[in-house]
Point group: C2
Chain length 146, copies 2
Amino acid sequence: MQISSRFTVALHIFSCVDTFKDEYKVTSDFLASSINTNPVIIRRILGQLKNAGLIEVARGTGGVTPTRPLAEITFYDVYKAVDPIEDDELFHFHENPNPECPVGRNIHNLLNEKLESIQRAMEDEMRRYTIEDLHEGMEKLLAEEA
Amino acid sequence: MQISSRFTVALHIFSCVDTFKDEYKVTSDFLASSINTNPVIIRRILGQLKNAGLIEVARGTGGVTPTRPLAEITFYDVYKAVDPIEDDELFHFHENPNPECPVGRNIHNLLNEKLESIQRAMEDEMRRYTIEDLHEGMEKLLAEEA
DNA sequence: CGAGTTGTAATTGCAACGGTTACTTCTGTT
DNA sequence: AACAGAAGTAACCGTTGCAATTACAACTCG
């Protein structure tokens, strides 16, 4: 299973907000046009980012503002905000192994720490990247374009 | 999005095959009972593992045999076998960012290596665990039970 | 007040998942 | 040769999540 495109869309949103905040009023329509999707999709993601406390959204007038320095917003924060998972567990464990089977009643214990370490490896790597990295990377790419 | 339970089911299968291979004929019915699901679900997963070259399945008579030493079958092998993903990309990138927008036409380049490194972190950790680890871990758990 | 914008509910089409039934194909045994 | 047991597989179901869309209420500012 793939991780929802909401994640890359959210990163795209942050990059747009950062790049265009002084030039344009960055509304859900504006963002939808850059991302090439529907404004409602954007608003829903903005809502998730807002609920997670990562941004503020100006009602009525429009506009998006990060609530923290960009270096303090990691990919992990964004991921957790837009792709909430039941119990925070990346792996969907089959629910009811047979407790009368020796393997069935021990498999969960056997796998648990291994699955956790795999999930942790992914999430730790996500924590290494921040929105500030996006800011710098985009500046560089735009400079190369010119 | 969670990773399909086919992954933990497949690991459960390997553990059962290893634990019961001398005592019982390990059929899809037998496995379905330990895992507490439908035999057809098991057969479908066995088919995926077979296609990936990880096991052989005895038609007619029943039974599952790994094709390699257990230490040479990693969690990654199992994951790739049962959870095939389009283009092998963990992250679903939104398809059509607007090329007329400076951010839109650069976002893919900007994110690509970062997303790849996150995926790689997960997959590398998956490669650290093998079915042999399951064998040893299960033996230990069963010894503690006795 | 009115224009522009966000917030949100409701609906749609689609795909994947897990489950189930039913049937065919294969294999070893009697 | 027939039979029983088992894998292989197609077809279908209900549920869920996703992305998209329409429609409308709530809000803000000029």
